[in-house]
């Protein structure tokens, strides 16, 4: 049975993919030569360094800051922690605790034979990534053993600030039929250059992403999954200044989806672009080995700009996100490329535009797990009209074969969802998805009609933007405000001081082991 499809210019499609790849290849000249604070902290975390010092500072931060102060971070944290472990016979956590208590200077420890140090580090990396693969295997087995849900997956958000209250709301939502639970993060966590520690019960507009909170929610969802005989996916955010660290925690705690975008932080959070590009690569290597599906943030282009005028920005960004993901060894099925239903409801035939845009994404990325975002920009306090808009959104999704449906809330633009808002959203989606399940398999899009022409038009516009971006380079294109009309400079934004050029002796066994297991050829 064939799903709804449209015809696009094949030349344009292959040209767009080729151009996106060239754009991304160019950025890799920078990426491969650099490391960042959070990448080095991720390595320490994989080596087993966790917890906080007496001043509540996470130990991975303490150790990395110590190495920065000594001016040796460009060799990589793996070397220094391993050298200390070999010399003292202690494990990385004990060594880190000593650094945290100001009782140990890692650079003052005599250099041990390099071969021994590397062997120690390599073993730690292998152990850590074996655990990643075993977590992945558990998920894969559960997906076979339990029933996976039909698509579009119903994705809902909980955001109480208290992980235990989140659990109670997530349980209720799962029992009502939600397939994916996202625990939204506390406001501005993306700007923290550390990951908070332990279970948390207070947050602003969301709940802190911590490894312990991940574990608590995973356990709760697994219990429900066992009861309900269907797998429930867990989502969090690997974005902001700690992309790879969050990915690392997710890889050990069995998260399924991570919001992870190659450009979102640069444009919408003013995080330095160099930092973001380097971090996103490392985080996506982890994601690729973990079998985690990324969700990209193209919906943001439409909340800041007009959804018809700037539809091509979504397409261009999807192509760039896809190209970056491929470089990190990700398979298409794990790419949750994003888009959104954000056209002004007052526009005549707005729904046809929405269908055209949704079908363009579907056609351009036939194997991707597309993430469709609900109306937000034109949601008002009129919850009844909002509910109607969400119904159309659900219909567009099931009709055009989208994969992940972030359910619209009727109280969007008013407050964080009430329990009943989420319940009504699931009710709506259950009704529409069930009622129109095979609609897209029965109807066809008119050849050369409005929808097909519109999709082709957006693709052509996206191609123009990509061509220009290739010519000037991605970093310059961002500076020129080619994306989202927002200009960011290469050395502006947050986090640049955490980007370091690798020294000749740079050593990162987690990076090389990830690349080896993913079969990535690294050209230096």
């Amino acid at each position: 049975m064939a799903r709804l499809s449209i015809t696009l210019s094949r030349d344009d499609v292959s040209e767009a993919k080729k151009t996106a790849k060239a754009i991304v290849d160019d950025v890799f000249h920078f990426i491969t030569k650099h490391t960042t604070d959070t990448i080095e902290r991720t390595v320490l975390r994989y080596f087993g360094v966790d917890g906080v010092d007496a001043g509540e500072a996470p130990l991975p931060n303490v150790v990395v800051d110590h190495l920065k102060k000594k001016g040796v971070l460009d060799t990589g944290s793996a070397y220094w922690i391993s050298n200390a472990c070999v010399a003292t016979g202690k494990d990385p956590q004990t060594v880190a605790e000593a650094v945290g208590a100001n009782a140990l200077d890692l650079t003052a420890i005599p250099s041990q034979p390099l071969e021994t140090v590397y062997r120690f580090a390599q073993e730690k990396a292998v152990e850590a990534l074996d655990r990643v693969e075993s977590v992945r295997k558990t998920r894969d087995e559960l997906l076979v053993q339990l029933r996976d849900n039909p698509k579009p997956y119903k994705y809902v958000i909980v955001a109480t600030g208290n992980i235990y209250e989140d659990v109670s709301q997530a349980k209720a939502a799962s029992e009502q039929g939600a397939d994916v639970i996202a625990v939204i993060r506390s406001t501005a966590q993306s700007l923290l250059d550390y990951v908070p520690y332990g279970p948390t019960t207070e947050g602003f507009g969301g709940t802190y992403a911590t490894q312990e909170n991940f574990r608590i929610m995973r356990q709760a969802l697994d219990e429900i999954a066992a009861e309900q005989k269907r797998y429930i996916r867990l989502t969090n955010y690997a974005s902001g200044l700690c992309m790879p660290e969050i990915a690392m925690m997710a890889s050990w705690e069995g998260l399924d989806f991570l919001l992870n975008d190659s450009m979102y932080g640069i444009l919408f959070r003013d995080i330095n672009m160099k930092r973001t590009f380097v971090d996103q690569y490392f985080s996506r290597l982890i994601v690729a080995l973990s079998g985690i599906t990324i969700n990209t943030g193209e919906d943001n282009y439409l909340t800041t700009s007009d959804a018809i005028e700037k539809a091509y920005a979504v397409t261009a960004s999807q192509l760039i996100n896809e190209a970056f993901a491929k470089k990190a060894g990700m398979k298409e099925a794990y790419m949750g490329l994003g888009h959104a239903f954000e056209i002004d409801p007052a526009i005549e035939n707005g729904f046809l535009y929405e269908l055209a845009h949704a079908l363009l994404a579907r056609e351009l990325f036939p194997n991707a797990t597309l993430k469709y975002m609900p109306p937000t920009k034109f949601m008002t306090g009129n919850v009844f009209k909002g509910y109607a808009m969400n119904t159309l959104f659900n219909l567009a999704s099931v009709f055009t074969g989208q994969d992940i449906q972030l359910l619209g809330m009727l109280t969007e633009a008013i407050h964080t969802p009430y329990l009943q808002d989420r319940y009504l959203a699931i009710l709506n989606a259950n009704y529409i998805f069930n009622n129109a399940r095979l609609l897209g398999y029965e109807l066809e899009v008119k050849k050369g009609g409005f929808i097909e022409r519109r999709a082709q038009e957006v693709l052509s516009q996206a191609l123009t933007l990509l061509k220009h971006t290739q010519k000037v380079g991605l970093m310059n294109a961002i500076q020129e405000a080619q994306f989202a009309d927002i200009s960011r400079s290469q050395d502006g934004g947050k986090g640049l001081s955490g980007v370091h050029r690798k020294s000749e002796g740079y050593y990162n066994p987690v990076l090389s082991e990830l690349e080896r297991r993913l079969g990535i050829e690294v050209a230096l």
Binding site: Q176, A188, D270, T304, G381, L419, Y423
Partner: protein, 256 residues
């Protein structure tokens, strides 16, 4: 304002809500009770709604939301009435002008471009509202302040520290400050807005500066209560804000 609806007299001194007949006091409610679905939940919902001041009521839907939560849709009637003649509202009145008119108006009355600084402050990461008012593109076909000849706009974006805002106001000699805030359940917006106002006072830049707050649930009353000149809620378009800035600042200029 007493009036007839059809042939039924509506008494402003005893006003009540209108369902399908005058003075029926009909209200639609929906809510969740944290008790398991069942007979007890239904009775509890009735008692709850009666305690809210309704006498007759109909539970038209009761649904099991799992985990011990039950959802209700209720239609109820109240006997309570209000006296509209005793209600006073605070509101700003000014004429909304087109972009060209506002530009002309500023040119004539003030004779120089007005400097506007805009920001979403502290923990707030939402820029949609701020961008809708300031960006060229504007909102709903109404162009943003950047498109006006007589406004020089500095859009600082989101999560800007209050200290940075004050610095920018000083540096650009701003005429008007536009702060966008999302109302949060934990009342973070009040803390943020209060902090900014305190800083503006301390740094001595409050006087002469037109301070405007905007956000989906910001009201005029709330803004004034926090010491700001005006508040704009959802549905506000750029030309309203532009007209307000132009008229208010020209009035102030005439006074001095």
């Amino acid at each position: 304002m007493s009036e007839f609806k059809g042939n039924v007299f509506i008494d402003p001194k005893q006003l009540t809500s209108y369902g399908d007949a005058a003075n029926d006091g009909a209200v639609q409610l929906s809510f969740t009770l944290p008790i398991p679905y069942g007979a007890l939940a239904k009775e509890a919902a009735k008692v709850f709604v009666r305690n809210l001041g309704f006498d007759t009521l109909d539970i038209v839907s009761m649904e099991d939301m799992q985990e011990g939560y039950t959802f209700f849709v209720v239609y109820a009637h109240t006997q309570k009435t209000i006296d509209v003649s005793k209600i006073k509202v605070m509101d700003v009145s000014f004429r909304v002008m087109s972009r060209e008119e506002t530009d002309d108006f500023i040119q004539k009355k003030i004779g120089r471009p007005l400097v506007v600084v805009g920001a979403t402050i502290e923990s707030d990461a939402h820029t949609v509202g701020l961008d809708a008012i300031l960006n060229m593109k504007g909102y709903h076909g109404d162009y943003g302040l950047e498109r006006y000849k007589m406004f020089t706009v500095h859009n600082m974006g989101s999560q800007v520290l209050c200290e940075e805002v004050v610095r920018k106001v000083k540096e650009t000699k701003a005429d008007a400050l536009l702060i966008s805030q999302i109302v949060t359940q934990k009342n973070l917006h009040i803390q943020n807005l209060t902090k900014l106002m305190d800083l503006l006072e301390i740094e001595g830049v409050r006087k002469g500066l037109l301070t405007i707050v905007g956000g989906p649930r910001i009201s005029y009353e709330l803004a004034v209560e926090l010491g700001y000149d005006v508040g704009f809620g959802s549905g506000t378009v750029p030309s309203q804000v532009a007209s307000y800035i132009a008229t208010t600042l020209s009035e102030r200029a005439e006074l001095t």
